[in-house]
Amino acid sequence: MISNYLTLSIILFSLGILGVISRRNVFTVFMSIELMLNAANLAFISFSRLHISMDGQILALMVIAVAAAEASLALAVVILLHKHKGVLDTNIFSTLKG
């Protein structure tokens, strides 16, 4: 039973990674990150159910809280980036090139 949940979690996580790596729009990258976080949440809750323990659920709640904080910050950054360059293409922001 548990393996189904974990498979779903892995699929979601891989989709997230793929999104982060392949997409150029800042928003899509951001949503992909959220997807990875929630994949982790799903894994936590699955294990929590497996071991009949509340630890995993509490961790999932923590992740949600952190994700909320991260969302507010990230959106603020996105707004600033847009004000700065007028576009949301990550390839434009490449000043860290060596």
């Binding site: 990674i17 150029r24 390839n91 060596g98």
Partner: protein, 638 residues
Amino acid sequence: MEHTATFYLGLIPLMPLVGAFVIGLLHVMTCKTKGFSEEFYGVIACLGPAASCIMALQVFQLLQAMPVDQRILVHKAFTWFSVGELHINMGFLADPLSSLFLLFVTFIGTLIHIYSIGYMGGDKSFGKYFAYMNLFLGSMLILVLGDGPVVMFVGWEGVGLCSYLLISYYNDDRSNVLAGNKAFIVNRIGDLGFVLGMAFLFWSIGTHGFDFIALKANAPMLTPAMGLVVCLLLFVGATGKSAQIPLYVWLPDAMAGPTPVSALIHAATMVTAGVYMVARFSFLYAHIPLSGEVIAWIGILTALVSAIFAMFQDDIKKVLAYSTVSQLGYMFAGVGVAAYSAGIFHVVTHAFFKALLFLCAGSVIYAMHHEQNIWRMGGLRKKLPITYWTMVIGGLALAGCPPFSGFFSKDEILFSALASGHKGIWIIGVLVAGMTAYYTFRMIFVAFHGEPHSKSAYDHAHEPPAVMTAPLVILAAGALFAGLMNLPEVFGGHQLVSHWLAPSVLDHHVHATEGMEWMAMGASVVVVLIGIAIAFFKFARGAEVPYFSGFSKFAYNKFYIDELYDAVFVQPYKLIGSFIWKQFDPNVTDGPRRLTAGIYSIAGSAFKVFQTGFVRVYAIYMVIGLSLLSLLISQTLN
């Protein structure tokens, strides 16, 4: 009772140090604005030394109340550091030797501080001056009170630093700064000897305790060869600090500082440190007669050479400076022939009359508006009566004319030299006594007698304020009567100083007939009177500026020793320095540096490719990294 006494021991050096800190802080905080008044600084500056002086008296009385063979007070303030077998306490030791030093150092130091209030009046950084002076005195007190060579060395370096700061005090003039540098560097050469001596001492007998009490107990374990090495290396330190051949060259240049500083350096602090150190280590020197021999001969030769220099100088402070070098030579001759108490007694009397002479010279310079050339003075006797009479007292004491203090102490050194069989030292010593009398009174007669050489300066000359003349009078009383403390038995005295010092220093007692003592005394008195008489006939009725030629020109230029040192040591050193700077550094040592930098540069340009600047590429790196890490962990767990 015991507890209070040891408590004082820590406080004695602390008082001037706190004073230095407070004054320095106030000065730094207010130097941009108008700042505090001179009186305010002056009073604070005198408080510390005066408090130390009172406490030194307490310590002295406490020691006096104790039985003769137990007169030692030790105060361990805290453990300073502890490395392997070396445990160093910040400890203070008072025994008859250090308590005697404490008394005259704090007393004369206080008087010089009071005098400075008048002398330095109107100076633009009055506070800085007094901060340095207090620091100087505090360092000297640490040196005197230190319970082991290491704590002593703290004070030893402290006085070196303060002498540098004060000699180059008038730092608007480049030559003064160079004089300060010279003092510091020459002292550093001596300090190297001291450090090496300490290291050898620790290496051979120091592991069972490295304070004076333990070292004294372990001194017989020292092999003669090692003992000689230690003694001579420590003496190298003493030649630096106490201005003996070959490191005496800094002291005459130290005249660049304000005159009260010269008085402090020459009388109470700094130059007496070398003699003190040798007396402190008398338990070593007493075992190694050869080292004493070396010290005595270097001392007496220094006395001779610097007396020759002093006879031809025309700067009032230079004459006094060379006289100090000469008198220090006597002291080393004294401690060299194992007459430690005689040497120390000469330190005490010399402190009084040399402080007096320098402060007198200071008030002459003050009255003449910073004129130091004796040939531009003349006839000052009527204008500066107090200065004149106190200076005559100081001069008679320096010349060693009975019954002034210098006579008793110098005579005891010479007599000890003669009685211990050092006839050569005695003959040179008597000769130097005559020369001392000559140059001292040459200076006094030229400056104070005859006709004024500079009419305008003479007319403006006036006796300095009471804050300056009062210390002169007190010191003159000291110069007059200090000798009576150690009145020899032939005069019905009891040699109080020698008996007081007996537990601290290992005096070599010589037995000589009374006739021999009278003869030695008579010879030096006659020579001194001849010296004064020659000076009187040559200079008392007025003298012209001399023209130097032949030997006198050679002596006037101090045998060209400074030039010789410059050519032999300084210039080659500079050449080596500039070679290393211009050739060795860019061509040799820079090689590895360039190589390392080059490797990093190439590596950087190789790794640059990975820094694409795209966020998602960095994300790929992270994923790859995490995947590899996970793989590794899963492999390890399996």
